[in-house]
Amino acid sequence: MTRKIYQDAGSALAGLLHDGMTIISGGFGICGIPDALLKAIDETGVKDLTIVTNNPGLDGLGVGRLVNSGRIAKLIASYAGENATFAKQYLAGKVQLEYCPQGTLVERIRAGGAGIPAFFTPTGVGTEVAAGKEVRVFNGREYLMEQGIFGDLALIHAWKADSEGNLVYRKTARNFNPVMATAAKVTIAEVEHLVEPGEIDPDHIITPGIFVKRIVPLAHVEKHIEKRTVRERA
């Protein structure tokens, strides 16, 4: 029951990386990002990547690591603020950016993972997002056709896994992770806690192990806070 478990991020990535590949990465802001896997990818020097993620992390953190070392050819994201290095590269024409509304982005990934090549959504009708896309009317309302996304590799951060790859997430660190886990040829999950089969109540499993090919138990987890907001004690 240990065939899915890898010592570290570097060994879990062995044989999977090639220039020009499409990698989809979980996380929202820097919450629930597979940072150990992204760091290991950055260290391999693989390049011309298409990265699909909600936003490119912060400068030098998460997907921001790949931004800083110039490994990204194209980013598909809903938001690219809060990363000045990415903004600079984009404005200098060094990296392509495809803006995709967040709900459309996650639905494209969900569809890709569920064997659905395209779907119609009301989001973006009448905006620049609609440019070049088929519009159809259903029940008197216009909808845009959007296509599914399926990556070569999906990177996931989960809270708990068993050796089968059944995953549980923690609070808002769940975000895109369970959806992205379904939508790539190979999914690797870095996990904070590896437990024995049976320790996770099957009713509580969010991602069934069928979607997870490789598991990296993290020896050390460093989590960052993007905007620390607190209230005074009364």
């Binding site: 809903s78 509304p101 989001t123 997002v129 808002t172 907001t229 607190v230």
Partner: protein, 214 residues
């Protein structure tokens, strides 16, 4: 006297109803969370996968795994649920969220909203704003009436749109407008901030509207 940011938020809070599921944007809309009328219970939705948002944590109790859509640390409450982004946007696009209160850069006289980018000035993105306005049945926009001396309520937006014909109510520091789709004009001026005159609003609004002041 134009309304302050807090007073704009207070006026927006009057749009809430007991039992509503509510999505708040960043900026003035965030203030609405602290202004829910007494005796009313609403659940706040956060697009990154949470219903039932609590207040900011006490210092020392911040949790990196618990943030809102603005990436700020927050807390959970007894009614909180967590879910993935696809389900979260299903709630929005599917019309399950009752109301969204959002900031705006421009609103047109037919309810078009521009609030996600200023070309050449920002590399940001629409995030979840386009999905919200496409799916949430009631969209309230709160904003300053003017930006650098220019009206923000206009005949046609010249900034990239977030959605077409999506706004239901506009609350500014000067006035409140309703948008009635299909009517000409669609905009109705329904309230004024204290001591703000109809003529002053007319002079600072670049859109056609009718006055329906009580």
């Amino acid at each position: 006297m134009p309304w302050s940011r807090e007073q704009i938020a207070l006026r927006a809070a009057r749009e809430l109803c007991d039992g509503f599921y509510v999505n708040l944007g960043i900026g003035i809309p965030t203030l609405v969370a602290n202004l829910v009328p007494d005796g009313m219970a609403v659940q706040f939705h956060s697009e990154n996968g949470m219903l039932g948002m609590g207040p900011f944590p006490f210092a020392g109790e911040e949790d990196p795994d618990l943030i809102n859509a603005g990436k700020e640390t927050i807390t959970q409450i007894p009614t909180t649920s967590f879910f993935d982004s696809a389900l979260s946007f299903g709630m929005m696009r599917g019309g399950h969220i009752d109301i969204s209160i959002l900031g705006g850069l421009q609103v047109s006289e037919t309810g078009d909203l521009a609030n996600w980018t200023i070309p050449g000035k920002m590399v940001k993105g629409m995030g979840g704003a386009m999905d919200l306005v496409a799916g949430v049945p009631r969209i309230v926009v709160v904003m300053e009436h003017m930006a650098k001396g220019e009206p923000r309520i206009v005949k046609q937006c010249n900034l990239p749109l977030t959605g077409k014909g999506v706004v239901d109510l506009i609350i500014t520091d000067l006035a409140v407008f309703e948008v009635h789709a299909g009517e000409t004009p669609s905009l109705r001026l329904i309230e004024l901030a204290p001591d703000v005159t109809p003529a002053f609003v007319r002079a600072n609004t670049a859109a056609d509207y009718v006055e329906c002041l009580a």
